[in-house]
Protein backbone atom coordinates (compact mmCIF):
# COMPACT_ATOMS: atom_id res chain seq x y z
CA UNK A 1 0.00 0.00 0.00
CA UNK A 2 1.25 3.50 -0.79
CA UNK A 3 2.57 5.53 2.10
CA UNK A 4 1.89 9.17 3.00
CA UNK A 5 4.59 11.75 2.39
CA UNK A 6 5.18 15.47 2.78
CA UNK A 7 6.24 16.24 -0.79
CA UNK A 8 3.24 18.48 -1.46
CA UNK A 9 3.75 20.40 1.78
CA UNK A 10 7.42 20.93 0.95
CA UNK A 11 6.53 22.11 -2.56
CA UNK A 12 4.09 24.59 -1.04
CA UNK A 13 6.37 25.94 1.63
CA UNK A 14 9.31 26.94 -0.55
CA UNK A 15 11.53 26.11 2.43
CA UNK A 16 9.43 28.01 4.95
CA UNK A 17 9.88 25.67 7.92
CA UNK A 18 7.47 27.63 10.10
CA UNK A 19 4.70 27.14 7.55
CA UNK A 20 5.49 23.42 7.18
CA UNK A 21 5.22 22.96 10.93
CA UNK A 22 2.07 25.06 11.15
CA UNK A 23 0.35 23.06 8.44
CA UNK A 24 1.32 19.74 10.01
CA UNK A 25 -0.11 20.92 13.33
CA UNK A 26 -3.37 21.95 11.62
CA UNK A 27 -3.65 18.60 9.82
CA UNK A 28 -2.90 16.67 13.03
CA UNK A 29 -5.59 18.69 14.73
CA UNK A 30 -8.22 18.60 12.01
CA UNK A 31 -7.84 15.06 10.66
CA UNK A 32 -8.96 13.17 13.81
CA UNK A 33 -12.02 15.43 14.11
CA UNK A 34 -13.05 14.82 10.50
CA UNK A 35 -12.39 11.10 10.88
CA UNK A 36 -14.54 10.89 14.02
CA UNK A 37 -17.44 12.68 12.36
CA UNK A 38 -17.15 10.30 9.42
CA UNK A 39 -17.28 7.25 11.71
CA UNK A 40 -20.31 8.67 13.54
CA UNK A 41 -22.17 9.20 10.27
CA UNK A 42 -21.25 5.87 8.74
CA UNK A 43 -22.27 4.05 11.94
CA UNK A 44 -25.61 5.84 11.90
CA UNK A 45 -25.99 4.99 8.18
CA UNK A 46 -26.14 8.71 7.35
CA UNK A 47 -24.51 8.02 4.01
CA UNK A 48 -25.01 11.46 2.52
CA UNK A 49 -23.36 13.13 5.48
CA UNK A 50 -20.64 10.48 5.45
CA UNK A 51 -20.06 11.31 1.77
CA UNK A 52 -19.55 14.96 2.76
CA UNK A 53 -17.00 13.83 5.36
CA UNK A 54 -15.18 11.67 2.79
CA UNK A 55 -15.15 14.64 0.43
CA UNK A 56 -13.47 16.75 3.08
CA UNK A 57 -10.99 14.00 3.98
CA UNK A 58 -10.06 13.63 0.31
CA UNK A 59 -8.16 16.90 0.49
CA UNK A 60 -5.94 15.63 3.29
CA UNK A 61 -5.41 12.36 1.44
CA UNK A 62 -4.16 14.30 -1.57
CA UNK A 63 -2.03 16.67 0.52
CA UNK A 64 -0.27 13.62 1.94
CA UNK A 65 0.55 12.41 -1.56
CA UNK A 66 -1.74 9.37 -1.56
CA UNK A 67 -2.79 9.38 -5.20
CA UNK A 68 -4.34 5.92 -5.45
CA UNK A 69 -6.06 6.37 -2.12
CA UNK A 70 -7.51 9.63 -3.41
CA UNK A 71 -9.13 7.71 -6.27
CA UNK A 72 -10.54 5.14 -3.85
CA UNK A 73 -11.90 7.91 -1.62
CA UNK A 74 -13.57 9.56 -4.62
CA UNK A 75 -15.20 6.29 -5.68
CA UNK A 76 -16.30 5.58 -2.12
CA UNK A 77 -17.80 9.07 -1.86
CA UNK A 78 -19.86 8.37 -4.97
CA UNK A 79 -20.93 4.99 -3.60
CA UNK A 80 -22.18 6.65 -0.42
CA UNK A 81 -24.12 9.18 -2.44
CA UNK A 82 -25.75 6.27 -4.21
CA UNK A 83 -26.61 4.74 -0.86
CA UNK A 84 -24.16 1.87 -0.57
CA UNK A 85 -20.88 1.28 1.23
CA UNK A 86 -18.74 -0.58 -1.27
CA UNK A 87 -15.05 0.36 -0.68
CA UNK A 88 -15.72 1.23 2.98
CA UNK A 89 -13.07 -1.19 4.17
CA UNK A 90 -10.50 0.16 1.72
CA UNK A 91 -11.30 3.75 2.65
CA UNK A 92 -11.05 3.08 6.37
CA UNK A 93 -7.74 1.37 5.83
CA UNK A 94 -6.49 4.64 4.27
CA UNK A 95 -7.65 6.50 7.38
CA UNK A 96 -5.68 4.07 9.53
CA UNK A 97 -2.56 4.56 7.42
CA UNK A 98 -2.83 8.34 7.77
CA UNK A 99 -3.52 8.10 11.51
CA UNK A 100 -0.38 6.01 12.00
CA UNK A 101 1.67 8.36 9.86
CA UNK A 102 0.52 11.50 11.67
CA UNK A 103 1.35 9.96 15.03
CA UNK A 104 4.98 9.83 14.00
CA UNK A 105 5.25 13.38 12.71
Amino acid sequence: MEQPNLSYIYSMSGGDKAFEQKLIVIIKDEFPEEKNVYFQNISAKNYKLAADNVHKLKHKISILGLEKSYEIAGAFENNLLEGHTKLQKEFESILTTITNYLQHL
Binding site: D16, K22, L23, I26, D52, H55, K56, H59, E82
Partner: protein, 237 residues
Protein backbone atom coordinates in the same frame (compact mmCIF):
# COMPACT_ATOMS: atom_id res chain seq x y z
CA UNK B 1 -6.05 43.15 -4.36
CA UNK B 2 -7.82 42.79 -1.05
CA UNK B 3 -8.92 39.16 -0.59
CA UNK B 4 -10.82 36.95 1.77
CA UNK B 5 -10.78 33.16 2.05
CA UNK B 6 -13.94 31.15 2.67
CA UNK B 7 -13.40 27.46 3.43
CA UNK B 8 -14.68 25.26 6.22
CA UNK B 9 -11.37 23.38 6.29
CA UNK B 10 -8.58 25.02 8.30
CA UNK B 11 -5.94 23.15 6.30
CA UNK B 12 -7.24 24.62 3.04
CA UNK B 13 -7.37 28.12 4.49
CA UNK B 14 -3.76 27.85 5.68
CA UNK B 15 -2.59 26.66 2.26
CA UNK B 16 -4.37 29.45 0.39
CA UNK B 17 -3.07 32.04 2.83
CA UNK B 18 0.47 30.74 2.27
CA UNK B 19 0.01 30.85 -1.51
CA UNK B 20 -1.25 34.43 -1.24
CA UNK B 21 1.74 35.43 0.90
CA UNK B 22 4.01 34.63 -2.04
CA UNK B 23 2.28 37.20 -4.26
CA UNK B 24 2.91 40.83 -3.33
CA UNK B 25 -0.23 42.20 -4.91
CA UNK B 26 -2.49 40.05 -2.72
CA UNK B 27 -3.55 41.19 0.69
CA UNK B 28 -5.57 38.64 2.69
CA UNK B 29 -7.81 40.64 5.00
CA UNK B 30 -9.78 37.83 6.58
CA UNK B 31 -10.68 34.16 6.44
CA UNK B 32 -13.96 32.49 7.26
CA UNK B 33 -14.91 28.89 8.07
CA UNK B 34 -18.40 29.43 6.63
CA UNK B 35 -20.01 31.57 3.97
CA UNK B 36 -22.64 33.15 6.19
CA UNK B 37 -20.03 34.90 8.31
CA UNK B 38 -18.41 36.17 5.13
CA UNK B 39 -21.67 37.72 3.89
CA UNK B 40 -21.84 39.92 6.97
CA UNK B 41 -18.24 40.95 6.43
CA UNK B 42 -18.83 41.77 2.76
CA UNK B 43 -21.65 44.12 3.68
CA UNK B 44 -19.17 46.31 5.52
CA UNK B 45 -15.92 45.86 3.61
CA UNK B 46 -14.67 46.39 0.08
CA UNK B 47 -13.16 43.21 -1.30
CA UNK B 48 -11.57 42.60 -4.71
CA UNK B 49 -11.24 38.84 -4.69
CA UNK B 50 -12.68 35.87 -2.83
CA UNK B 51 -11.24 32.36 -2.62
CA UNK B 52 -14.39 30.35 -2.19
CA UNK B 53 -14.77 26.68 -1.37
CA UNK B 54 -17.82 25.12 -3.01
CA UNK B 55 -18.43 22.13 -0.80
CA UNK B 56 -19.40 23.48 2.60
CA UNK B 57 -22.12 22.14 4.89
CA UNK B 58 -25.48 23.97 5.12
CA UNK B 59 -24.51 26.86 2.84
CA UNK B 60 -22.45 26.02 -0.23
CA UNK B 61 -20.22 28.24 -2.31
CA UNK B 62 -22.92 28.44 -4.98
CA UNK B 63 -25.51 29.42 -2.35
CA UNK B 64 -23.12 32.18 -1.36
CA UNK B 65 -22.74 33.51 -4.91
CA UNK B 66 -26.46 33.58 -5.43
CA UNK B 67 -27.01 35.38 -2.16
CA UNK B 68 -24.43 38.15 -2.39
CA UNK B 69 -25.42 41.26 -4.29
CA UNK B 70 -22.72 42.37 -6.75
CA UNK B 71 -20.11 39.84 -5.70
CA UNK B 72 -16.45 40.64 -6.38
CA UNK B 73 -14.22 38.38 -8.46
CA UNK B 74 -14.23 34.84 -7.17
CA UNK B 75 -11.76 31.99 -7.52
CA UNK B 76 -13.48 28.74 -6.65
CA UNK B 77 -11.59 26.06 -4.78
CA UNK B 78 -12.79 22.49 -4.53
CA UNK B 79 -11.70 18.87 -4.29
CA UNK B 80 -14.11 17.96 -7.03
CA UNK B 81 -13.58 18.79 -10.70
CA UNK B 82 -17.19 17.85 -11.44
CA UNK B 83 -18.36 21.30 -10.43
CA UNK B 84 -16.40 23.01 -13.18
CA UNK B 85 -19.21 23.39 -15.68
CA UNK B 86 -21.55 24.87 -13.10
CA UNK B 87 -18.82 27.29 -12.02
CA UNK B 88 -18.64 28.99 -15.37
CA UNK B 89 -22.32 29.86 -15.31
CA UNK B 90 -21.39 32.78 -13.08
CA UNK B 91 -19.64 35.80 -14.58
CA UNK B 92 -17.97 36.69 -11.29
CA UNK B 93 -16.00 33.45 -11.24
CA UNK B 94 -12.63 34.03 -12.82
CA UNK B 95 -11.10 30.61 -12.22
CA UNK B 96 -11.59 27.22 -10.66
CA UNK B 97 -8.85 25.54 -8.62
CA UNK B 98 -8.92 21.84 -7.82
CA UNK B 99 -7.32 20.93 -4.50
CA UNK B 100 -4.55 20.27 -3.73
CA UNK B 101 -3.66 23.60 -5.30
CA UNK B 102 -0.17 23.93 -6.71
CA UNK B 103 1.75 27.24 -6.58
CA UNK B 104 1.99 27.29 -10.40
CA UNK B 105 -1.75 26.84 -10.91
CA UNK B 106 -2.47 29.37 -8.20
CA UNK B 107 -0.34 31.99 -9.95
CA UNK B 108 -2.21 31.43 -13.19
CA UNK B 109 -5.51 31.97 -11.40
CA UNK B 110 -4.27 35.22 -9.91
CA UNK B 111 -3.12 36.35 -13.32
CA UNK B 112 -6.61 35.67 -14.65
CA UNK B 113 -8.13 37.58 -11.77
CA UNK B 114 -5.94 40.57 -12.57
CA UNK B 115 -6.74 40.62 -16.26
CA UNK B 116 -10.45 39.80 -16.05
CA UNK B 117 -12.68 42.83 -15.71
CA UNK B 118 -14.91 42.74 -12.65
CA UNK B 119 -18.44 41.62 -13.35
CA UNK B 120 -21.32 40.86 -11.13
CA UNK B 121 -22.78 37.41 -10.91
CA UNK B 122 -25.50 36.56 -13.30
CA UNK B 123 -26.94 33.12 -13.13
CA UNK B 124 -27.99 31.53 -16.39
CA UNK B 125 -29.96 28.33 -16.74
CA UNK B 126 -27.59 25.42 -17.04
CA UNK B 127 -29.36 23.34 -19.59
CA UNK B 128 -28.28 25.00 -22.81
CA UNK B 129 -24.57 24.93 -21.95
CA UNK B 130 -24.74 21.38 -20.79
CA UNK B 131 -26.12 20.29 -24.09
CA UNK B 132 -23.51 22.14 -26.08
CA UNK B 133 -20.59 21.23 -23.83
CA UNK B 134 -19.91 18.09 -25.80
CA UNK B 135 -22.02 15.94 -28.06
CA UNK B 136 -20.91 12.76 -26.36
CA UNK B 137 -21.44 13.86 -22.78
CA UNK B 138 -24.45 14.04 -20.56
CA UNK B 139 -24.32 15.89 -17.26
CA UNK B 140 -26.56 14.64 -14.50
CA UNK B 141 -27.29 16.41 -11.26
CA UNK B 142 -26.56 14.18 -8.27
CA UNK B 143 -26.56 15.81 -4.87
CA UNK B 144 -25.84 19.26 -6.24
CA UNK B 145 -23.02 17.99 -8.40
CA UNK B 146 -23.01 17.80 -12.14
CA UNK B 147 -21.53 14.45 -13.01
CA UNK B 148 -20.38 13.82 -16.56
CA UNK B 149 -21.45 10.59 -18.22
CA UNK B 150 -20.10 9.46 -21.57
CA UNK B 151 -23.29 8.81 -23.54
CA UNK B 152 -22.11 5.81 -25.60
CA UNK B 153 -21.07 4.07 -22.36
CA UNK B 154 -24.69 4.01 -21.18
CA UNK B 155 -26.21 0.61 -21.85
CA UNK B 156 -29.45 0.87 -19.92
CA UNK B 157 -31.68 3.46 -18.26
CA UNK B 158 -34.30 2.22 -15.86
CA UNK B 159 -37.15 4.21 -14.29
CA UNK B 160 -37.47 3.72 -10.55
CA UNK B 161 -40.26 5.85 -9.10
CA UNK B 162 -39.13 9.47 -8.98
CA UNK B 163 -35.64 8.44 -10.04
CA UNK B 164 -33.92 6.91 -13.01
CA UNK B 165 -30.95 4.62 -12.84
CA UNK B 166 -28.38 5.22 -15.57
CA UNK B 167 -26.20 2.15 -16.03
CA UNK B 168 -22.78 2.29 -17.63
CA UNK B 169 -19.97 -0.23 -17.88
CA UNK B 170 -18.06 1.50 -15.09
CA UNK B 171 -20.78 2.71 -12.78
CA UNK B 172 -24.49 3.13 -12.10
CA UNK B 173 -25.95 6.57 -11.41
CA UNK B 174 -29.20 7.22 -9.60
CA UNK B 175 -30.65 10.52 -10.74
CA UNK B 176 -33.78 12.39 -9.73
CA UNK B 177 -35.37 12.66 -13.17
CA UNK B 178 -37.75 10.94 -15.54
CA UNK B 179 -37.32 8.54 -18.40
CA UNK B 180 -39.00 11.06 -20.70
CA UNK B 181 -36.45 13.76 -19.87
CA UNK B 182 -33.41 11.60 -20.44
CA UNK B 183 -34.94 10.14 -23.59
CA UNK B 184 -34.93 13.65 -25.08
CA UNK B 185 -31.21 13.99 -24.35
CA UNK B 186 -30.08 10.67 -25.74
CA UNK B 187 -29.36 10.24 -29.47
CA UNK B 188 -32.07 8.32 -31.35
CA UNK B 189 -29.59 6.31 -33.36
CA UNK B 190 -28.15 4.71 -30.21
CA UNK B 191 -31.03 4.51 -27.79
CA UNK B 192 -34.55 3.18 -27.88
CA UNK B 193 -37.33 3.06 -25.33
CA UNK B 194 -38.55 -0.51 -25.32
CA UNK B 195 -40.77 -0.41 -22.26
CA UNK B 196 -42.33 2.31 -20.15
CA UNK B 197 -39.55 1.72 -17.59
CA UNK B 198 -36.57 1.04 -19.84
CA UNK B 199 -34.41 2.73 -22.46
CA UNK B 200 -31.68 0.57 -23.95
CA UNK B 201 -28.56 1.18 -25.98
CA UNK B 202 -29.42 -0.89 -29.06
CA UNK B 203 -25.73 -1.56 -29.76
CA UNK B 204 -25.53 -3.43 -26.46
CA UNK B 205 -28.22 -6.00 -27.24
CA UNK B 206 -26.89 -9.53 -26.89
CA UNK B 207 -30.03 -11.38 -27.90
CA UNK B 208 -33.78 -11.05 -28.18
CA UNK B 209 -36.20 -13.69 -27.11
CA UNK B 210 -39.96 -13.30 -27.41
CA UNK B 211 -40.73 -10.14 -25.48
CA UNK B 212 -37.41 -9.55 -23.79
CA UNK B 213 -33.89 -8.46 -24.68
CA UNK B 214 -30.64 -9.37 -23.01
CA UNK B 215 -28.36 -6.38 -22.30
CA UNK B 216 -25.19 -7.33 -20.43
CA UNK B 217 -26.67 -9.57 -17.75
CA UNK B 218 -30.03 -7.80 -17.63
CA UNK B 219 -33.14 -9.33 -19.11
CA UNK B 220 -35.33 -6.37 -20.09
CA UNK B 221 -38.99 -6.66 -21.04
CA UNK B 222 -40.11 -5.27 -24.39
CA UNK B 223 -43.63 -3.91 -24.44
CA UNK B 224 -45.88 -4.99 -27.31
CA UNK B 225 -46.26 -1.44 -28.59
CA UNK B 226 -42.48 -0.86 -28.69
CA UNK B 227 -41.50 -4.14 -30.28
CA UNK B 228 -42.13 -3.14 -33.93
CA UNK B 229 -39.76 -0.16 -33.57
CA UNK B 230 -37.14 -2.40 -31.99
CA UNK B 231 -37.40 -4.92 -34.82
CA UNK B 232 -37.07 -2.10 -37.36
CA UNK B 233 -33.79 -1.06 -35.78
CA UNK B 234 -32.21 -4.49 -36.12
CA UNK B 235 -30.07 -5.48 -39.04
CA UNK B 236 -31.99 -8.70 -39.66
CA UNK B 237 -30.67 -11.37 -41.96
Amino acid sequence: MNCIIIDDEATARAIIRQLCSNIDSLNVLEEFPNALQAIKYLNQNEIDLIFLDIHMPDFTGFDFIETVKNPPKIILTTSDANFAIQAFEYDCIVDYLVKPITPERFQKAIQKAKTTSGKTATYNPLSEKIETASGNDLYVNIDRRLIKIDIPSIYLVEAKGDYIQVKTEAKNYTVHSTLKKIEEKLPDDLFLKIHRSYIINVHEIIDIEDNSVLIKKNVIPVSRSNKPELMKRLNLL
